[in-house]
């Protein structure tokens, strides 16, 4: 303002204003970093995996002033076209959310070596692609321990979405965590389905959870995308407990959700955007686990009464044991 007043005093207001406008424009052009977020078919409102990615990108939009565009693909053939369209325009970073986009990212990244890409939950080998991987088994181990401590019947349940290695990884960690607390614990495993539809089939997830509760389970861990809400409904109906996944889902059914296993896709997305914007983008695998807070479990006002101090103390103990290498959590990916 001082500069404007100065120019005004000299009587060169017009030229000064022009200069100002020009300066703002160049500043904007320099600062404008364009990011495209390509969501999985669950969509940005799944209150879980995709929501988390969307939230991270939006945080980057607010804090870093990037330009953000997001899309949900219509079919699996569309990913490649969408990625190409973004890359061909002036977008700087394309983030694919979910393993279904692996091949599309692989193909397009080669065609646009100057652009940056990132993919969540899948490994793509290319210098301009960052693969954001999560140590899901570590978090599942902790919530498995929590479930075993909270269940008096010594029976707990697991409802997975699609029966794929990723969800088997959750299940294996969960079971190991429960056995650590109570070697005689019984774990009932069920999967909603074997196709992508399993992520969006809440009614079936509810039936599975109801039958697990009937079978004596007192806590059910739901790792099933948008199908999770069926499990939460079942918990409310039977006055039992459930555990959420990916995002913090404690708020969706207060009093019935023991905790949520956090998979901080939002942090991974945010960090990737931040580094790409400041020119420090690096390809390769970036792993998120307990050590860098990429994986965790949620404690907030909705579940602090459910998680007793004893449970919390014991879980923190387990967590530091894992970090110290005293406990090695079995990893389904390494058993094959």
């Amino acid at each position: 303002m001082l500069a404007v007043a100065h120019l005004f005093a000299r009587g060169t207001l017009k030229r000064g204003l022009w200069l100002l406008v020009l300066m703002t424009f160049t500043a904007q052009a320099l600062a404008e970093f364009k990011v495209a977020l390509i969501l999985d078919r669950g969509g940005k409102d799944d209150k879980s995996f995709n929501s988390s990615a969307f939230e991270g990108a939006n945080r980057a939009k607010e804090k870093l002033g990037i330009t953000l565009k997001f899309v949900e693909a219509a079919d699996d053939n569309a990913y490649e076209g969408i990625l190409r369209s973004f890359a061909r325009r002036d977008f700087d970073l394309m983030i694919g959310v979910g393993f279904a986009q692996k091949e599309a990212v692989q193909k397009v990244a080669v065609q646009f070596p100057d652009k940056h890409f990132a993919i969540v939950d899948s490994e793509v080998q290319a210098p301009n692609v960052r693969s954001l991987m999560f140590e899901e088994h570590e978090g599942a181990y902790l919530v498995g321990a929590i479930a075993a401590m909270a269940s008096k019947s010594r029976i707990i349940g697991f409802v997975g979405g699609m029966d794929i290695p990723l969800i088997r990884r959750f299940a294996m960690g969960y079971e190991a965590g429960a056995r650590k607390i109570d070697p005689g614990a019984k774990v009932i495993l069920n999967f909603v389905g074997i196709t992508g539809e399993a992520w969006n089939n809440a009614p079936k997830a509810k039936e599975l959870a109801l039958s697990q509760y009937t079978g004596g389970a007192e806590v059910v861990f739901a790792a099933a995308g948008a199908s999770n809400f069926g499990v939460f409904d079942a918990a409310e109906e039977r006055k039992k407990l459930a555990i959420g996944v990916d995002s913090n889902q404690n708020w969706t059914k207060p009093g019935f959700i023991l905790t949520s296993m956090l998979k901080r896709v939002d942090e991974a997305v945010y960090a990737t955007i931040l580094e790409a914007q400041s020119g420090k983008f690096q390809g390769g695998i970036r792993s998120f686990g307990l050590a860098n807070q990429g994986i965790g479990y949620a404690v907030d006002k909705y579940n602090e009464k459910l998680l007793t101090p004893e449970i919390r103390a014991r879980v923190e103990e387990l967590k530091s044991d894992i970090l110290a290498g005293k406990i090695v959590v079995p990893d389904f990916y390494k058993t094959r």
């Binding site: 219509a74 065609q111 290695p165 074997i194």
Partner: protein
């Protein structure tokens, strides 16, 4: 072309135009500039060789399924089962590619093509046979068979043939000599020999329906079953034959998808090509040339609309469904545009439909 078919073509084009204009009015109501949206749609569908290629890529399966629905329509029945037939055909093509890796190059894709057609034909023959011999309605049967096909093919894809290297629900890849390379003209879009095959099939359908005895019998059954039977035509054979041929056409989607695109069967690969085929047949007035044109139109809309998500704030790719709906409505409602005049011109004679098979009403 006779005068009547020229008029039919004109009224179809008129319907498409009215539908497009109505769609753009919707865009305008939503607060976007209709001309901008039209430009985005056009550029998205035809803007570059790659975009054009993707439009053709989406159109190819629609030609197959559109022809499939149209053939059965001409024989006086409804094929709501193209989705199931194409699923079965696609898994058959993938199975050939996985289980017969010893076949040499020129034979291999041909074998896969034959497998896809035969599997589709077998799946299509079931509702045809049930209609002919048992009188159970093909609409119910084809819809139910769609679910059976989806379950059956998912089983093969997820258990015996599963790709263990991937998280995706899909089969292993086919042997390389089965693959049909995409034409380099389209800059990497997966458009290959499946497109000429589809056009060839359109020509073949025309030849079969209007230049052979078999086609004449099918159409005769479609126009008037009682008269056809009185004339000595084996109605049951015509029904089963038309349905089996329709199934083979739908099954050829497997050639485009497995040999020309993904190299494997992926569960849920089809964005409902089979059901879009019904719209294609309706728009194309059950004529092969019309089917090809309608498939191109719907393919272009599907591809072009994907760009809307990227470029506009108030409308999304779902707009393509609005356009589809309005266009189909306007084309089917051709009576509103021309019927009155035609009724005066041809007073007393039968009204032209081309949309609903004349003899099918109970």
């Amino acid at each position: 072309m006779s005068g009547k078919s020229v008029q039919g073509l004109l009224s179809a084009l008129f319907g498409v135009l009215v539908g497009l204009i109505l769609g753009l009015l919707v865009v305008w109501g939503a607060g976007e500039n209709p001309l901008t949206v039209l430009r985005i749609l056009a550029r998205g569908a035809f803007g570059s060789r790659y975009d054009l290629g993707m439009t053709l890529f989406y159109s190819t399966p629609l030609i197959f399924t559109g022809l499939s629905v149209a053939v059965v329509f001409r024989a006086g029945m409804f094929n709501i089962g193209a989705e199931g037939q194409l699923t079965v055909g696609t898994i058959a093509a993938a199975m050939a590619g996985i289980l017969l890796p010893f076949l040499p190059m020129p034979i291999a894709p041909l074998v896969a093509w034959v497998c896809a057609s035969l599997a589709g034909a077998a799946w299509g023959a079931i509702p045809g046979w049930l209609r002919a011999r048992r009188g159970s309605h093909e609409v119910i049967n084809t819809i139910m068979l769609n679910f059976v096909a989806a379950g059956l093919c998912s089983y093969f894809a997820l258990y015996p043939l599963r790709n263990l290297q991937s998280q995706n629900p899909e089969t292993r890849g086919i042997a390389s000599q089965f693959k049909l390379a995409p034409f380099p003209l389209f800059e990497g879009a997966p458009v290959g020999w499946a497109l000429p095959l589809a056009l060839l099939m359109a020509l073949f359908v025309w030849f079969l329906l209007w230049r052979t005895v078999i086609g004449f019998e099918w159409r005769a059954v479609g126009l008037n079953e009682v008269a056809a039977r009185a004339a000595g035509i084996d109605v049951a054979r015509a029904r089963v034959g038309a349905f089996a041929f329709a199934g083979a056409l739908a099954g050829m989607v497997g050639v485009a998808e497995v040999l020309g695109n993904s190299g494997r069967f992926r569960v849920g690969f089809s964005p409902e090509y089979g059901f879009m085929g019904i719209a294609v047949a309706l728009l194309g007035r059950n004529h092969p040339a019309g089917v090809v044109a309608a498939a191109l139109l719907l393919g272009a809309l599907h591809k072009g609309a994907a760009e809307l998500d990227l470029e506009t704030d108030r409308v999304t790719r779902d707009l393509s469904l609005v356009f589809q709906g309005l266009i189909i409505l306007c084309v089917s409602a051709e009576g509103w545009w021309f019927q009155n005049r035609r009724r005066k011109a041809t007073a007393g004679s039968q009204k032209s439909t081309g949309v609903v098979p004349a003899s099918n009403s109970p």
